[in-house]
């Protein structure tokens, strides 16, 4: 049995029990004493009454003898004869009553002797009276009979007094005890009353507090229940065998089931559409194991099936609950209606498809006419060059150059648009190898230039290799391009760790590349990364203005930032960061 009582209450009960036991012992003792006293009294009464009887018989014997002696009539002898018959029976009774009291018993024996002596004397008197009155009178007047009677009377009185004294003594002790018992009883009864009163007050007080706490708890429980049931999202829990153990009203309303229909009767998979159910069950064992290891699972997309058979898309987030032994006990999940988002996703998909169709068409249809423009201009030059003057040749050249440039613009724009949609494949990228590789490729094209390129050890990073290749290619080729008019090109590439702004404790890698080229005016820095934005004229440096826009797009997709510092004619420095979470 588990005891829920507080120590104080327990102590109270304990003390009460002890007091009751003490009271019990006292009562028993006192009762015992009373019984003893009563026995004593009864004994004394019987001894007194028995000795009285013996006294009376002795008197009868004396009376019989006297009557006969005076009258000589034998009828007077009747009391003597009657008493003599029963005298020894009564002496036996008295003897047995005093058998436990040796002093009194000795007196009874003495009494027996006296009575025998008196009886012998009486018989002698009766005998002499039969011979003649004078003989009997002479014997009586000697006083022997009177002395015997006096001794008997005195001894009987002594026995009786002794018996009374013993009773009185016992009675006195007994009433003292009784009084003590009464006082103690009253004292203990008061003690019990006080303790029980205190216990009552204390328990009552506790119950009052508990009651108030219960009311408060119920209020909180009601509020929690309301929050659970009427939350704007679905909640449900399942046990280790995936049966529903709890579900909130919101989700029930969405599904069209009642609580009774769902709890303990439906499994999680019964909430799913056929398609979702098949997918869920197909990899259930594996997924469930993973879930139990990880302890949670986020943003799972399912399709729920209502009772009426209609479907709606949902997002489910779950957290596992384990017992103290680390065994999986249950799972709690939230469900949000994904209908609107799904609609949005479908719309985005449509838009993306439209965009794909558009870029495909641009890619194909726009380039074909451009090719015709350059192609036929070339034919014009080849077949009719001999009849054209220099101005004619110059115009043909302009046509071809512009068509070519437009081809480049179309290509760059397509690259840019594709980069936004391309799927990212994050791997560990060895930046040292990547940069060396690109440098080799790009510097091979720069014949006769004095290049001083310093590459510091670069931190490896997580990211999409082909995209990061594009970033470094664009940045390095820019550095080479804008420093091409310097006598000696100075390029430095490096990296370092730094704290991520706005996110405490997170580190990110910051890469940089600087050159001593044409630089730029810092007031136009924000324009650097816009599509088709250029800070230099075509005849200064070639380009379409897509390269840095592409860099920015890639870095943003990696969650990083990119920025630049520059000074006209002194060079530019580009930075970009890659978060490493």
């Amino acid at each position: 049995m588990k005891v829920h009582l507080e120590k104080r209450v327990l102590a109270g009960f304990f003390i009460t029990i002890i007091v009751l036991v003490v009271l019990g012992v006292f009562s028993f003792n006192s009762t015992q004493r009373l019984i003893n006293t009563a026995r004593l009294l009864s004994h004394a009464t019987r001894v007194i009454s028995s000795s009285d009887q013996i006294m009376k018989l002795s008197v009868d014997i004396e009376t019989g003898q006297r009557g006969f002696t005076i009258t000589g009539d034998t009828t007077f002898l009747e009391p003597f004869l009657d008493a003599s018959k029963v005298m020894f029976k009564h002496l036996g009774i008295l003897d047995s009553l005093t058998v436990n009291d040796s002093l009194q018993n000795a007196k009874v024996n003495e009494l027996r002797g006296l009575i025998v002596k008196h009886a012998t004397w009486t018989k002698h008197v009766i005998q002499l009276r039969n011979e003649g009155f004078e003989k009997a009178r002479d014997l009586v007047t000697k006083g022997e009979g009177k002395r015997a009677m006096d001794a008997i009377r005195s001894l009987v009185k002594n026995i009786q007094e002794e018996e009374r004294a013993v009773f009185r003594k016992g009675n006195t002790i007994s009433s003292q005890h009784l009084q003590q018992f009464q006082y103690s009883f009253i004292g203990l009864a008061i003690a019990i009353t006080v303790i029980i009163g205190y216990l009552f007050y204390y328990i009552n007080d506790n119950l009052k507090v508990r009651n108030q706490a219960d009311i408060k708890l119920k209020k909180v429980a009601d509020e929690t229940r309301d929050l659970y049931d009427n939350a704007p999202c679905g909640y449900f829990s399942v046990d280790a065998s995936i049966f529903l153990t709890n579900i909130n009203q919101t989700l029930l309303t969405w599904l069209g089931y009642t609580r009774e229909e769902a709890i303990g009767k439906m499994k999680y998979e019964d909430l799913l559409s056929l398609e979702s159910k098949a997918a869920f069950l197909a990899s259930f064992e594996e997924d469930f194991e993973k879930y139990k290891q990880q302890g949670y699972v986020s943003d799972l997309e399912f399709e729920f099936r209502r009772k009426d058979g209609t479907m709606f898309p949902v997002i489910v987030n779950s957290a596992a609950v384990f017992n103290t032994k680390g065994e999986f006990v249950k799972s709690r999940s939230t469900v949000s209606d994904n209908t609107e988002r799904k609609k949005g996703e479908i719309r985005i998909k449509q838009l993306n498809q439209e965009l794909d169709a558009f870029t495909y068409s641009v890619s194909h249809d726009l380039r074909a006419p451009l090719r015709s423009v350059t192609g036929y201009a070339q034919i014009l030059k080849e077949d009719f060059g001999h009849i054209l003057d220099p101005e004619g040749h110059r115009l043909i050249h302009i046509i071809m150059a512009n068509a070519k440039r437009m081809g480049q613009l179309v290509d760059d724009l397509l690259d840019f648009s594709r980069m936004g949609r391309k799927e990212m494949m994050r791997t560990n990228v060895n930046m040292n190898e990547l940069v060396q590789d690109i440098l080799q490729e790009l510097t091979a094209l720069e014949n006769g230039r004095k290049l001083n390129i310093r590459v510091m050890p670069l931190a490896p990073s997580k990211g999409d290799l082909s995209m990061l290749r594009q970033v470094w290619t664009n940045l390095i080729s820019n550095a080479l391009k804008y420093s091409s008019k310097k006598e000696v090109t100075e390029i430095e590439i490096g990296s370092g760790w730094r704290d991520t702004p706005l996110q405490d404790g997170q580190k990110e890698i910051c890469y940089h590349i600087s050159d001593n080229g044409a630089g730029f005016d810092m007031q136009y820095a924000p324009k650097l990364f816009g599509v088709f934005q250029r800070l230099h004229k075509m005849n200064e440096f070639e380009g379409t203005g897509v390269g840095l826009a592409l860099v920015k797009r890639i870095i943003q997709r990696h969650g990083g930032t990119v920025w630049a510092e520059g000074k006209i004619n002194e060079g530019a420095k580009f930075y970009y960061t890659l978060p490493q979470n």
Binding site: Y360, S363, H364, D365, R367, A368, L370, R371, S372, T374, G375, Y376, A377, Q378, I379, M400, A403, K404, M406, G407, Q408, D411, L414
Partner: protein
């Protein structure tokens, strides 16, 4: 050398086709060239006669009626005709197209450069490669 067609050019845009032909002519590769204007015509020509075995097919991707991918699929699923080298010659650089045509068994995929000189260079090189350098599987 007989008069059998050596290069079959399937291209719906006549201007593009003329440029390609001109480029091939420059390298003297266009003597036995047949130009067809869409996929339907191409399939009809190839499958009408089982002996028609051009040494090279230059195939545009985007064409009316039957497109280049479909022509390629039909060619490469025919036991006899699948040995004919097919080069996609197209304006589009869509990755999905490149992947799909290679899966179907295309022999090369050339994106036509906008610059005519580069175009001439590309066409000449591929003509030389497939007609002169490459060893066809069946001795003719």
């Amino acid at each position: 050398m007989n008069n059998a067609v050596e290069i079959l050019l399937v291209e719906d845009n006549p201007d593009d086709a003329n440029l390609a032909i001109r480029a091939l002519k420059k390298s003297n590769l266009a003597n036995h060239l047949l130009h067809l204007e869409d996929g339907e015509e191409a399939l009809a020509y190839i499958f009408d006669d089982k002996n028609v075995m051009p040494r090279l097919i230059l195939l545009d991707l985007k064409m009316p009626k039957i497109d280049g991918i479909e022509v390629l699929r039909r060619l490469k699923s025919d036991d006899k005709k699948k040995v004919i080298p097919v080069v996609m010659l197209t304006s589009s650089k869509e990755e999905s197209d490149i992947v799909e045509t290679y899966k179907l068994g295309v022999n090369a995929y050339i994106v036509k450069p906008v610059d005519f000189n580069q175009f001439v260079k590309a066409v000449t090189e591929l003509g030389l490669f497939w007609l002169v350098l490459n060893q066809p599987p069946v001795e003719r």
